[in-house]
Symmetry: C2
Subunit: 382 residues, 2 copies
């Protein structure tokens, strides 16, 4: 494979963008990434999006955004891998450049969730799980995550409060991120008192419904000339697991997350001890814990203990969700994987401002879809 690099990154603020449509949000992030790369156009566009068909009545987002961002007649199509769509779109762009088909491509993750009634959003998110055997029986996406959390508490003998450090740390990190949706710090007490969504998941365990778009420009070594702040994609890997929870031998091992991380470690030569930060898929605190364990930052069942010791906070052994993560920066589902890579890029370019991880040189990002049925992992190197 040819080496591929990130030479531009752009994002919109995450929030409730009542005044912006899919084309506005997407074009805004794409143009910001192109401006950052100081280029005008690209050979191809890959759009990560999950819910366009289910809640926006808009598919064909490749053509829509190539048109809106002034990229016609570039190749463009959409990539969907549930909540991992953004990570998968970056991977699609990387593969297209690695293949030699293109020299410069842009990947954008985009989601607009707040235009729909909440029942539609709940139904849309449930389409990431098994429609025949889970969703159609009334199990929402959050309810399925709650089953995982309950099992974790039962098997590892921990309480709901023990998950607090992930949420507290995410909100703390988001405070200085001007693109974050929630910039107010929260306390452990507020976490504990937060109302239940699907027991034991409380509202402060969960990432919000929101809108946003983030984009990166990716190029080959040949096209790198003059781009002095390039970040190398040292590895990109994806894997799958059973779509339904009932099919898994061990509910508390996210097989796809583990497998994609192992592939990324093998391809890059980096392992858990080498990373300076980890942009985790913290859609729910239980998923954060399982992702941390799948990537080898804690043994099975030990993530909460390490979190209690501050391991995942800024200054800890491996800082997590350094701009607030899905929990506090926000989780526009198909965009989140792209936000992670934008944020890791800023860290490796030492442009993270008050959120900077000192000396950041190697970063891991992991985008997870459908309760771990699909995962996309990237290793980025300054």
């Amino acid at each position: 494979m040819r080496d591929v690099f990130i030479i531009g990154a752009g994002q919109t603020p995450v929030g409730e963008h009542w005044d912006l449509g899919l084309r506005d949000l997407g074009a805004s992030a794409i143009r910001a990434a192109l401006d950052d790369a100081t280029i005008e156009t690209v050979d191809a566009l890959f759009v990560g999006n999950m819910l366009g068909g289910a809640i926006n009545g808009q598919e064909n987002l490749g053509a829509l955004l190539a048109d809106a961002a002034g990229l016609l007649p570039a190749e463009a199509w959409k990539v969907e891998a549930a909540c991992a769509s953004g990570g998968a779109a970056v991977r699609a762009a990387a593969l297209s450049v690695a293949s030699g088909a293109h020299d410069v491509a842009v990947a954008v993750g985009i989601e607009k969730m707040t235009d729909a009634v909440s029942e539609s959003v709940t139904a849309g998110l449930a389409s990431a799980s098994d429609c025949d055997y889970e969703a159609s029986h009334g199990l929402s996406f959050t309810a399925l995550s709650a089953l995982l959390m309950r099992r974790y508490m039962h098997e590892h003998g921990v309480s709901r409060e023990d998950f607090a450090p992930f949420a507290v740390s995410a909100h703390r990190n988001a405070a200085a991120n001007e693109n974050a949706m929630f910039r107010e710090p929260i306390s452990i007490e507020e976490f504990v008192r937060s109302s239940q969504v699907a027991s034991p998941i409380g509202v402060l365990d969960a990432a919000p419904v929101c809108d946003g778009a983030a984009a990166v420009v990716i190029c080959s070594r040949d096209a790198l000339q003059g781009h002095h702040r390039a970040v190398r994609i040292a590895a990109s890997a994806a894997a799958t697991d059973t779509i339904g929870l009932a099919g898994r031998a061990d509910l508390l091992t996210l097989g796809a997350a583990k497998r994609s991380a192992e592939k990324a470690f093998a391809a890059s030569g980096f392992g858990p001890k080498d990373f300076d930060l980890f942009e985790a898929h913290d859609a729910f605190t239980i998923i954060t814990a399982l992702s941390v364990e799948a990537c080898g930052f804690a043994p099975r069942g030990e993530a909460l203990k390490r979190a209690a010791h501050g391991c995942f906070a800024r200054g800890g052994c491996i800082p997590l969700s350094t701009f607030g993560g899905l929990k506090a920066r926000g989780h526009p589902v198909g965009a989140s994987g792209a936000y992670q890579i934008v944020e890791a890029t800023l860290q490796l370019r030492r442009e993270a401002g008050p959120n900077q991880v000192p000396g950041a040189r190697v970063a891991l990002t992991q985008s997870i879809g459908g309760h771990g049925s699909v995962a996309v992992t990237h290793v980025l190197e300054a």
Copy 2:
């Protein structure tokens, strides 16, 4: 780019599969393609699908079908490019193998449209057009195609009847295809008398709403060993045009189709005169005509004249839709691009039975989405 080859092809019959879900249809086509390639598993799966979110309540089809087809933990995600999704999925698989990331990948196109009420299907298909400026004002997908047909008739001075040869020829070709939905030949008189859907488009101008899945196994030259019937992907190209019709300088030139064909011709070294058959995107007779012209098989405005002379029938200068095409084999939208490539593969392997184009050596396929806002073109060589 590394050379890539097709070593397996599989399909389900196209029709109304009330007894099969997405997982059954998809796994059936994938397993058929793997059996045809005499292999057990692959490194990655790319799923072309458009309407899973809009009408089936099921996204995350990568994980769903990797699971259902026994391919876990292989990388898997969905590709969406409206009605060109199947072609784009094949391209995604080809790029992944060309990049060196994988040696063997499978692409499946799948759509299940008959489980939904017709209003949902109409709304789902409209999501391929511009939601803000077309669909939300009541323009259905067929209505937009009707505007193109009306313009073609006006500008080129032809009548509705002049489009008949495309439909007649498609139905004739489908008669011997056991996977086709409509195996009854139709006459020009029946075409003319057929009831109007959106004037001037009649029911016999239009491809049907239906279910189906088709898959191809793609590999690198290194993985080719022992596969004696391999077909080379001599070129694969995609391009875009404005998503809304109003944005186009010339309504009767499908810019994305033209541009992707030109890229495929340049990459393969083959041109219109070299092809032995053309699997065209004949979703409506007007789109067939425009695609034929975009690919250089007729000058602008001349496609119907050539059709009247039998140029596109079997035995003509360039046989079209040799197994019945979208019109008569059927058009499960996200699957059609994959069906085209399966059928072209059978032709080049001389396994097309009564539909065989004698001496077929080089084939062109073109998958078009959203009234030409996106197109994916492949050149295949025996």
